[in-house]
Symmetry: C2
Amino acid sequence: MKIALAQLNYTIGDFAGNSAKIINAIEQARTNGASLIVFSELAVCGYPPDDLLDYPHFIKHCEDALIEIAKATIGITAIVGCPVINSHPKGRRLYNAACVLSNGVHIDSIYKTLLPTYDVFSEARYFQSNENFRTVAINGVNTAITICEDLWDEMDFFSYTQDPLKNLSVFKPELIINISASPFNADKEKTRYEILRNQAINFKMPLLYVNQVGAHTDLIFDGNSLFINADGSIAKQLKSFDEELTYVDLNSVQMKSNFEEKERIEQLHKALVFGIKDYFSKMGFTKAILGSSGGIDSAVVQALMSEAIGGENVTAILMPSQFSSDGSITDALALSKNLNNPSHIIPIKSIFDSFDAALKPIFNNLPFNVAEENIQARSRAVLLMAYSNKLGAILVNTSNKSEMSVGYTTLYGDMCGSISVIGDVYKTDVFALAKRINANRELIPIDIIEKAPSAELRPDQKDSDNLPPYDILDGILKSYIEEQLSVSDIVALGYEKETVERSIKMVNNNEYKRFQAPPILRVSSKAYGRGRVIPLVAKFKN
Amino acid sequence: MKIALAQLNYTIGDFAGNSAKIINAIEQARTNGASLIVFSELAVCGYPPDDLLDYPHFIKHCEDALIEIAKATIGITAIVGCPVINSHPKGRRLYNAACVLSNGVHIDSIYKTLLPTYDVFSEARYFQSNENFRTVAINGVNTAITICEDLWDEMDFFSYTQDPLKNLSVFKPELIINISASPFNADKEKTRYEILRNQAINFKMPLLYVNQVGAHTDLIFDGNSLFINADGSIAKQLKSFDEELTYVDLNSVQMKSNFEEKERIEQLHKALVFGIKDYFSKMGFTKAILGSSGGIDSAVVQALMSEAIGGENVTAILMPSQFSSDGSITDALALSKNLNNPSHIIPIKSIFDSFDAALKPIFNNLPFNVAEENIQARSRAVLLMAYSNKLGAILVNTSNKSEMSVGYTTLYGDMCGSISVIGDVYKTDVFALAKRINANRELIPIDIIEKAPSAELRPDQKDSDNLPPYDILDGILKSYIEEQLSVSDIVALGYEKETVERSIKMVNNNEYKRFQAPPILRVSSKAYGRGRVIPLVAKFKN
């Protein structure tokens, strides 16, 4: 049996577009002699549809699309992910299903058993869990069809009470198919392969895994679909961050290669560029702007943006204040030149002075403090948003994860933006990204990378005045955010107690800022945003 | 058996404070001769703890607190809500438990079966569901202990596959206890009573229901704990929006009264004031500021704030532009005077002009449009936040649900604030609240209520230039947001198709603004915020 793996990029709720893509792939696969084509999880509506699943007419659209797609399956079988209604009067209203379409008809549906409900996932919010296990004969091949998490019965932090493959194995299947929507994170690629490999080895069967590719606001799906041999070796690996329609023939001798782990910063770089590109393309945006401070964060974002949507489409706005160093302006201008970005300089001194004058009757002679620092950051945001409103370019946010963590950012100031590009990238990784961006040519002026980080909101300010060195801070943050360690756990790793306590206190005290942050491209196992819900009014502090 | 119902206000993660409250209530109950005291769901840590449950040391604090509380139960039994660890190697790591503490020892735990995972609830994210049903003998009374949702097996939109009370009824209990954390919404009070009443009647048993009281950022818990007789009549109803420790004696003849539904706007009013008060008190805030425009939204918020934290603690900032009418300033000043609010006038013309001048080289002679409108709204936000940063008063947001829905608000402008007071209140209800606030005395100048709503961001602007009349708009919005109806469903209710399509399009196109909105006090069945997750990048438009 020749099988097509369709790793496609869907848009959530774009039923016409998604169906056209799916039908086109079915036609290509048939032309190429495939008798089965496999699409990813919830392909018909795109994953994750979130609360659109609560709208009955959204489900009606799914049903209608599925009928249209089925009509295209003359002479071929397709496995397509789609929500389907639970006809039983009890239980959640929907199943997350793998629909088997063949010769024009929707002949079968297999339901997802393990419904991930942690981090960015909330499938128990919508779906009923499958409890009836059976295999499906597809062109005479007894097949165990599973959906994404169904193969992830052993999590790091808990074991599911069900093991779908074990339940299916009693029916003696010959092939495992897994349709998936498994988001990227820079530390996950190997884990994912190992889980799939172990299932293939344990159950002594080849495993065909089709993952979604595409970014949906914060969530980036990398593709990397696989066909794994029964001995765990890789017969086929599809592209990262791109669509691909490819084929395997179950009757042929398969290739056998080992998994090759890609370099982490390279993956991070590709994921971010892809995340930006897909966000802009799906939103129909072509032009971006950002505040270009001459610092490393905005420089890295500017370079990533330029790579994603073209340098000529990224406008850099330099907004020096009386505290900006000449170096910052020179560096930022050189950066824009290197990246081919249009740029404008808008000094903010007169704006700052007008706020200062307006507030003087109230503030009297109270000393300069964070209020005046924030007026600068917020005046810049007003200028950037005015530019965006007037000229249609989309403001992107340039905050990094370290400063978002400790609140070293101004709410409604530098925290503004339609999407946050590096809000899930710690400062130490921002430096690594800068080096990678400069690998072939000095796109980011070396001064920007080498000078001491500073917000330049008061005279001679340096990040190190208030924060621990970034290598130490990032280590503490990662232990706290990603690994949920306590102060004493983190101190046991070798960090100074006072530094740990101070850092974690800053994280806890700044939940309120992150609550109003833009969506953040997720590239770690625990990003700020939908995957991390911390009460704002809470006294728990370590 | 004399039973104490402890309806208390907990702070999430405040183990010392919550334990002290619980132990104090136990001591009072013992002094008053009670042999059982019942606390609400997750009382030890406060509800909802959200992802703090992912932190192992948070759970350790829960365990330690429970041991301390148990020590206080000499001569009395207490039922206390607390997360407990699932000792089985399979399944989620925690149970949502009702812990039975007696004579110094934690003697038993009953686990929650139905884990609400919809709207603002996400319990399947943390907890394993109970599958073993049994009753507990408490001082010789065979008791069916249940936790909140366990009695809500029939939802409007689905039925759970389990019916805990039915499973428990085979053990012939004599009493149902339900410990709860059931949030307020203005349309729910009667539904909640009816569900509880029906369970009492169906199973022919008295039902003792203890709900949490207190606000946790967006979520407001109203208390209203109940003791319901086996015939469904009410033997005892505890206060709304306040703590209460009260008693029932199972051996005495019970009162029998009917449920009296409270007036909706009255409830809304009380809930909002309580929500503000508890937010400020738990955050340790005492002073607030807001932008006072002379419009009805800021006027109603100003009045609610003054009621909640005292007029002298609410500073009104008037920030007229060249488009502000004289009436607006006069009205706003009169309002502040009525409410005893300190006020300041900061004209924004010179600030606006400085932005205008700074942008002129880029904008050239492009006509005045939304960019300049937003500069005004955002300049006001910069001023308000500067005041907040300098003088420590907390900015509260004054957007209403109608304008939040259609995006008739400026992101980083009037959408700023630490908490949104009326972001879940449609404009028509804002008018009703204004009338209620003025019931005894004209606190809100009548002009503010009667003049045509306007953002005053350009000459002669009126809300009605861009929006349908609010009674029509709100009807459409409620059908779409709260009831998930489609365009054709809503048209079938009698609304004009073009108006419905235009309104819903505005809602869909403005998800991105709401994504960055402050937390919103939730008073409806579907508020913006955690209970409504809509993809930002999506093509589904009706």
